[in-house]
């Protein structure tokens, strides 16, 4: 009966641990409640966006406050990033609530987004391969569906491409995971003793397994060899969803990379692969963005380049990564929100059509300029502070270990910051400077609430430049030793 008493202990343990999962539970409950409300009250073509979104928002805020408690108890990186992810979720829903026109299938929109969020939270929290796999699949299946939510030709094509690439990459990842399980006989990453197994079976199969697993992870953060899906998806997907896509999966998978780093990066080849990916993402992202005509497509390449920066921050230190991730979240939501405002007002997304908009909508124009300056990484915005932190971190790393790869990361990062200036300033150039014949654009109503929201985000960006202390205090409250 030894097994049975062991089972009793395990059960008690599991039930005790469940209290750490309250945020996830609340989101699941919110999902179910939203679905039931949608089924009971909104069957016909009523405009259900506001009500359903509001109910969902209440649950998300509840989960956020619960997560604050959980974080104050554990206070490690995973829990902090869950806080950040939930914040991004709240921001997404608040943004979506401002959609004034009739949204098709509003219930499904919020429900599937909740699925994406739960997947991301599981990835950030877990160190078990099974749960990581389930989280990644949950996140990506929701993402495939959400990317078809424009309900037009482009959207269908984009979601097909996303799905095929994503499914193949997750199949690779699964195969790698199965090999890792075979070599180590455990699914828990903390129990992995790869170095120990290397002696028995040689390091080539293990490296292969690690590479295959990494393939799936890198796909989800759209790092360069696996980035081809992202411009198409970003162009065709609803703009708010793109803002969520560019932040939530990326940050979640980066936390996962931190969790597995000390086990997987024992092989210098794997480390080199990641560093090479960082340089490649930066260069290809920035140079491809130079000749984009569509604003959303350009921002897609910009977010690929930012993946490269986040990878550099990953190699620098955790503090700079967290700072960069937070600032990246705010910048991306602000800039995609602005793209959406222009899209709502004039139904245009091409950069060349932005001509002369600076005079018509000066407030939006100014906000655009600040957000794009922050994305470039120039003062007086938080983007500058974040880049300074990353570069100083990587420089310190170089001084301690004298690895030329770190130096090249530093150099490529600086060089690409200069390149990015050219395409980011294209939008302000067209809005303010370039003279044109008066083009008459049909003007629609756009949400003023959305503009104020974006304004406050941009204000936070400037505030974090002048007073970074409160943010830094928050970041230093994380227990990085784990």
């Amino acid at each position: 009966m030894e097994y049975a008493s062991q089972l009793n202990n395990q059960l008690q343990n599991t039930i005790a641990l469940l209290s750490g999962y309250w945020p996830e539970f609340i989101i699941v409950i919110g999902l179910v409640v939203t679905l039931i409300i949608d089924l009971i009250f909104f069957n016909k073509e009523k405009n259900s966006n506001w009500w359903i979104g509001f109910v969902n928002l209440v649950f998300l805020i509840l989960a956020f406050t619960k997560q604050v408690d959980v974080y104050s108890y554990f206070s490690n990186l995973g829990e902090f990033m869950k806080l950040v992810l939930l914040f991004a979720g709240v921001l997404f829903i608040v943004f979506s609530l401002t959609q004034t026109h009739q949204t098709k299938k509003a219930g499904e929109y919020y429900i599937i987004f909740n699925g994406l969020l739960i997947g991301a939270l599981l990835i950030a929290k877990s160190t078990n391969l099974l749960v990581i796999y389930l989280g990644i699949e949950m996140m990506s299946i929701s993402a495939y569906v959400l990317s078809a939510f424009s309900f037009n030709k482009n959207s269908a094509e984009a979601s097909l491409k996303y799905l095929l690439f994503g499914a193949v990459s997750s199949a690779f990842m699964l195969f790698g995971m199965s090999l890792l399980y075979g070599f180590t006989q455990t699914l828990n990453i903390n129990d992995f003793e790869l170095l120990h197994t290397v002696k028995v079976i040689g390091d080539l199969p293990i490296k292969l397994a690690v590479f295959m697993t990494m393939f799936g992870f890198l796909f989800k953060i759209a790092a360069t060899p696996m980035h081809i899906w992202s411009p198409d998806v970003y162009e065709a997907t609803p703009t708010f969803v793109v803002a969520a896509f560019s932040v939530i999966p990326k940050l979640a998978v980066f936390v996962l990379l931190f969790n597995i780093a000390d086990k997987f990066l024992v092989f210098p080849e794997v480390e080199l692969l990641l560093q090479f990916t960082a340089i490649l993402s930066l260069t290809i992202g920035n140079f491809a963005a130079l000749w984009q005509k569509n604003a959303k497509r350009m921002l897609a390449y910009s977010s690929i380049a930012h993946t490269g920066f986040l990878l550099i921050a990953f190699f620098a230190n955790m503090q700079s990564f967290v700072f960069y991730g937070l600032v990246y979240l705010i910048m991306n939501f602000a800039v995609f929100g602005l793209v959406k405002v222009v899209e709502q007002k004039f139904s245009i997304t091409d950069i060349e059509q932005y001509i002369g908009l600076g005079k018509k909508i000066p407030l939006i124009g100014v906000l655009f300029v600040v957000a794009l300056i922050s994305l470039t990484g120039l003062p007086p915005t938080a983007g500058f502070t974040a880049k300074i932190l990353v570069f100083s971190g990587i420089w310190e790393k170089y001084l301690t270990n004298h690895n030329p790869v770190y130096l090249s990361l530093f150099v490529f990062g600086l060089f690409n910051t200069v390149v990015s200036l050219f395409y980011y300033l294209k939008i302000p150039y067209f809005m303010f400077i370039k003279k044109s014949n008066e083009v008459i654009l049909n003007e629609h109503k756009s949400s003023t609430v959305l503009t104020y929201l974006i304004g406050s985000l941009v204000f936070v960006l400037i505030l974090c430049f002048f007073l970074p202390n409160s943010l830094m205090d928050m970041i230093y409250s994380i227990n990085f030793a784990q």
């Binding site: 049975a4 009793n8 059960l11 008690q12 179910v32 679905l35 039931i36 089924l39």
Partner: protein, 166 residues
């Protein structure tokens, strides 16, 4: 012989037995049945319907939606089987003071509830209904008046009494 091969031997016996029974039955029937074929008897059996077209004909897309929903719910049974083998074990329930039973039961109830919610979604949103295609009346106006068309249609229709039956 190793254990695994022995257990596959049992499967082999089942296979051989199955083949013998089926072929024996068919063979006996073939010997004792009268052979008087006609056209109706020789057609493919499709539950009383007359077969139309070849076997490679395209299937209506609406079957697809039903199939998708079926697939989703059918695969979930994979969790029910392992659960059913451990759920009711008395020694586990006794060793844990009944906690095991409650935890297992509530887990499965949550699971089934969410599945049922999915079915309710499909039902409520009308994906289980066989919706009829909308036939849009054409707004085309040709030089020939509609009555003439109708007259011709009527004349060559096979249900009219003027046409001789083949």
């Amino acid at each position: 012989m190793s254990n695994e091969t022995a257990s596959f031997g049992e499967i082999l016996i089942y296979l051989i037995g199955g083949i013998v029974f089926i072929s024996g039955g068919l063979f006996t029937a073939w010997i004792i049945r009268p052979k008087r074929p006609n056209e109706e008897k020789l057609t493919t059996y499709e539950s009383g319907e007359d077969p139309l077209g070849g076997a490679w004909g395209q299937v209506n897309i609406r079957f697809y939606v039903i199939a998708l929903i079926f697939l989703l719910f059918e695969v979930e049974i994979v969790f029910l089987f392992p659960w059913a083998t451990v759920f009711g074990r008395e020694e586990l329930i006794e060793a844990t003071d009944g906690l095991w039973g409650w935890v297992a039961l509530s887990e499965m109830f949550v699971f089934i509830f969410i599945l049922a919610l999915g079915l309710a979604y499909a039902w409520r949103k009308g994906y289980l209904e066989w919706d009829k295609p909308e036939i849009k009346p054409s707004d085309f106006k040709g030089p020939v008046p509609t009555e003439k068309y109708n007259a011709i249609n009527h004349k060559y229709s096979k249900f009219t009494s003027e046409q001789p039956k083949k």
